[in-house]
């Protein structure tokens, strides 16, 4: 829509003003790391953060939320004739929110989640929270650390998915106003100025200068990933990862595109009412694919790691037209067994290109 300039000194007043009408969530320090948490004082906001432990996904798909509340009548659902009807009421936990400081890798992930929760059976819980959330994203000018590979995954920048997008120009932020919601937030709560020719020149300089600072970490074009993985189902890598993986689920917990969940009921001590809860779940956990009869359809850790790689590089692409990995590097950072998805992808590519020292890929068994 338009490009504006926001002096850095005007940021705290803007956040302060927003806090009156919105839940404002942004990056803040937690020990030596950073987390997305509600801002209660603008000084907490650390737009200079490198990366966060959990992605901002947690604002849109919380680690736990209520899907419904229900009553258990005196005779419970055991049901003699004439028992009082139990009630089930859906619960949508949503509040007007401004999500500040989202990096572009996470922005790409949110776009994917939007697809996931809109397709086929729209998920009112996610979509209502999404509708009430204004996203203010940030252009990364430096790599966050050695684990990220956003440049390889095409997420080093973004041209949609945000309401406002900030680029640090030194004394001020350039603000790309992309939507009406973003325009309202800026004009109603902040004091931004029209850009001058010098501002635009400076913005272009900053954006041009950032590109070489980031390195490509995939040995190949990410667009090849789905095809590459379709040849790698029986690759020896999976057995190797299976031996190292502790099946702790950390990789999926910190992933900005993982959306699988569990649903469970909790009741009060009096057994008169309860809640149906949705919690993050992980395909890396043993019971994820196990049915009540005892059969576990993805028992081996090697198969579970393969499933994760396939989801990120192939299956999600086939279903939604976008890769399931945005290169944020969180799964690599968090893995206690040092499993690296980018190294894994490169290993597979290496064997296809004949550079690896193990057996041929196993296209046919």
């Amino acid at each position: 829509m338009s490009l504006m300039i926001l002096d850095k000194g005007a940021l705290a007043p803007l956040v302060n003003a927003l806090m009156a009408d919105y839940r404002v969530v942004g990056p803040q320090a937690k020990g030596p790391q950073f987390v997305f948490e509600p801002i209660t004082d603008p000084v907490q906001l650390r737009l200079d953060y490198n990366t966060t432990i959990l992605p901002p996904k947690k604002v849109l798909q919380p680690p736990q939320e209520r899907l419904a509340t229900f009553t258990l009548p005196p005779r419970r659902w055991g049901g003699q004739e004439g028992a009082e009807e139990p009630r089930v009421e859906p619960v949508i936990e949503a509040a007007p929110t401004v999500l500040l400081g989202v990096h572009t890798c996470d922005l790409h992930a949110i776009r994917l989640l939007d697809e996931v929760f809109s397709q086929d059976y729209p998920d009112a819980h996610y979509l209502e929270r999404r509708r009430q959330t204004v996203i203010v994203s940030m252009e990364c000018l430096e790599p966050c650390d050695e684990h990220s590979f956003c440049k390889s995954m095409g997420t080093l920048t973004a041209d949609e998915g945000y309401d406002l997008h900030l680029t640090d120009l030194g004394p001020a932020y350039a603000v790309d106003v992309a939507t009406e919601a973003g325009e309202q937030v800026l004009s109603r709560y902040g004091t931004a100025n029209e850009t001058t020719d010098a501002d635009v020149r400076r913005l272009n300089e900053v954006l041009s200068a950032k590109w070489p600072r980031f390195t490509y970490r995939l040995d190949f074009d990410a667009a090849e990933l789905p095809a590459l993985l379709s040849m790698a189902y029986d690759h020896p890598l999976w057995a190797e990862l299976g031996k190292r993986c502790l099946a702790c689920g950390s990789c999926t917990n910190v992933c900005p595109t993982c959306y699988c969940f569990n649903v469970l009921d909790e009741v009060n001590v009096a057994l008169t009412e309860g809640e149906r809860l949705r919690r993050w779940d992980s395909c890396q956990l043993d019971e994820f694919a196990r049915v009540a009869g005892g059969e576990n359809f993805r028992e081996a850790r090697s198969a579970r790691q393969r499933h994760r790689f396939m989801r990120k590089g192939k299956y999600i692409y086939e279903k939604f037209g976008e890769l399931g990995c945005v290169g944020c590097g969180r799964c690599i950072r968090t893995c206690v067994a040092n499993i690296s998805i980018v190294d894994g992808f490169n290993t597979i590519h290496g064997s296809v290109e004949g550079r690896a020292n193990h057996d041929n890929i196993h296209l046919y068994t």
Binding site: L67, F70, Q80, V263, F288
Partner: protein, 274 residues
């Protein structure tokens, strides 16, 4: 009014019938006598609020709906054990029907070969009775049913009726006989050599414990039935029924959406399917 795809509708157990030591048949009525509107082979998510929710295939055929539907449930997990303790008049939560069932429109005019094993009869019965209620639209109806022991045979009344009918070829076997049993003894595959079929005009439908599929598939393929004419109903863990929660994934397929009914051609290259 807020609505959510995850909110179950309160439905009433019209009757509860003990079928075997482990299985009961539940007849369920939705509010206002409304029909569920399902296809044979689809499933519902059954809630016992406070306990949880589980996917259960619908065992009644749409042709016999009359304001109710039936679930044949083995008590094996939290939800099903709690369900087994309920009596008629009890209230449950229902969501659905979900998934792709059997494509009956593609089956009309064909000979039908059903090969259920154990509890696998439950989902297949929805199609068997639909076929029998449109008997003139189908060729031969062959049912080869295997159970572990005689006392584990489900739907005994209907089995007797199918055996007695001239227009149904129903053979039953048990892995292990007892003093009440004078029928066939042997695993389900031992029934196959007894029937000859026209493979070009036969649709085969099977469901059973995971171990059974490979052996039954070998028999069906051995009879010359094409991979696109073999239908399987697969079981998976499910938490949503609507393609979101991820539990039912079979490689890239969501069992709850693309399935639970698949053709063998669809899953032949899908390693996690069987």
């Amino acid at each position: 009014m807020t609505t959510s795809i995850y909110t179950p509708e309160v439905a009433r157990l019209a009757s509860v019938e003990q079928m075997t030591a482990l299985e009961k048949l539940f007849t369920i009525e939705l509010p206002d006598g409304r029909n569920l509107g399902h296809d044979p082979g689809q499933f519902v998510m059954v809630s016992l609020l406070g306990v949880g929710e589980a996917p259960i295939s619908i065992t009644s055929s749409p042709s016999r709906s009359n304001g109710s539907f039936q679930l044949c449930v083995r008590r094996v997990g939290d939800v099903t054990n709690a369900l087994h303790k309920m009596q008629s008049g009890g209230l449950v939560g229902i969501r659905g029907p979900f998934g792709h069932g059997f494509p009956i429109e593609k089956m009309r005019g064909k000979d039908m070969l059903f090969a259920p094993g154990g509890l696998g009869l439950a989902p297949l019965r929805s199609l068997i009775n639909q076929v029998l209620d449109e008997r003139g639209s189908f060729g031969r109806v062959i049912i080869l049913y295997g159970a572990k022991r005689p006392k584990e045979l489900l739907f005994r009344d209907e089995l007797e009726e199918w055996v007695a009918r001239d227009d149904v070829e129903c053979r039953i076997t048990v892995d292990q006989g007892d003093e009440t049993w004078d029928g066939h003894v042997g695993v389900i595959t031992t029934l196959f050599p007894e029937v000859s079929i026209n493979p070009r005009n036969t649709a085969a439908v099977t469901c059973g414990p995971p171990i059974m599929y490979r052996f039954v598939l070998m028999e069906l393929l051995g009879k010359g039935i094409s991979e696109t004419q073999i239908y399987l109903s697969l079981e998976r863990r499910m938490k949503c029924g609507v393609g979101k929660c991820g539990h039912c994934q079979i490689n890239n397929l969501y069992c709850c959406q693309e399935g639970p009914v698949f053709t063998y051609a669809q899953i032949k290259g899908v390693e996690e399917a069987l």
